[in-house]
């Protein structure tokens, strides 16, 4: 029967209870540091990192980018005719909703 334990992965090295496990098969990308689960079955070990942390980081980063874009668009639109104000406002609202989604991950 398989056993699931909390594990960590740093620089591609999986550790269980602080001890490195040489033959662990990393199911996720395993590049960035992560905490996840190791599935142990006899002498085989598989590691799966918690990927929601990647999603949170990505959402935060994209939100920052969109904020900058909407700021630039607002200044450019204001210098012309201002006819895109509604669209830019909608972009700002959508960006706020997008940022909030990081707290609603399943």
């Amino acid at each position: 029967m398989s056993k699931a334990v909390v594990a960590q992965c740093v620089a591609g090295v999986v550790s269980i209870d602080g001890a490195p496990v040489a033959n662990a098969v990393i199911q996720s990308k395993g590049v960035g540091s992560s905490t996840g689960f190791a599935i142990m079955d006899k002498d085989k070990v598989w590691y799966q990192g918690k990927t929601y942390e990647d999603l949170v980081a990505m959402i935060t980063s994209l939100n920052s980018m969109i904020t900058k874009i909407s700021t630039v668009l607002s200044s450019v639109d204001g210098a012309l005719s201002g006819s895109n104000a509604a669209t830019i406002a909608a972009l700002v609202v959508e960006n706020t909703t997008f940022l909030a989604s990081k707290d609603l991950l399943r």
Partner: protein, 148 residues
């Protein structure tokens, strides 16, 4: 009472009420219930996995291994429970001699519960055994002996 020593892990199966208490009293042991058998208190909470270099029952593991059977983990890590000392030891650390002599035509018997890892007169290292304990004469009758 039936006694099974499997790769240095002990299982006691009483055949009548009160046998565990009598055995504990006679030998000052601390047998406790686990699943459908009794074992030494030290072995009761044996984890179901070992990680290389981390202590498993007090001995640094030599293998990362997971199994719901603690005797399999002990086998992989080459450790046994020394009931005389009340600790788990690497099997290579056991240098005891047992008095096991297989009688003809029946079982080998002894007044002693063999320490797994101890050697027979032929210098075979015992890794496990099946045994019957007779309360009428306090003899251990070894029906099967397993070697390294």
């Amino acid at each position: 009472m039936k006694i099974f020593c499997n790769h240095g892990y002990f299982k006691f199966l009483p055949t009548a009420i009160g046998e565990i208490a009598k055995f504990n009293s006679a030998y000052e042991t601390d047998l406790v219930a686990k699943d459908d058998f009794y074992t030494f208190t030290f072995l009761q909470a044996a984890p179901d996995y070992s990680v290389l270099t981390k202590p498993y029952l007090g001995v640094p593991a030599i293998k990362t291994y997971a199994d719901e059977r603690p005797w399999e983990i002990m086998r992989q890590n080459k450790t046994v429970f020394n009931h005389l000392l009340g600790i788990v030891q690497p099997i290579n650390a056991i240098t005891l001699r047992s008095d096991y002599v297989k009688n003809q035509p029946s079982y080998g018997s002894s007044k002693n519960l063999y320490v797994p890892g101890s050697f027979t007169s032929e210098w075979k290292q015992i890794t496990g055994y099946n045994c019957l304990f007779d309360f009428s004469n306090f003899n251990f009758y070894y029906t099967d002996i397993f070697y390294e």
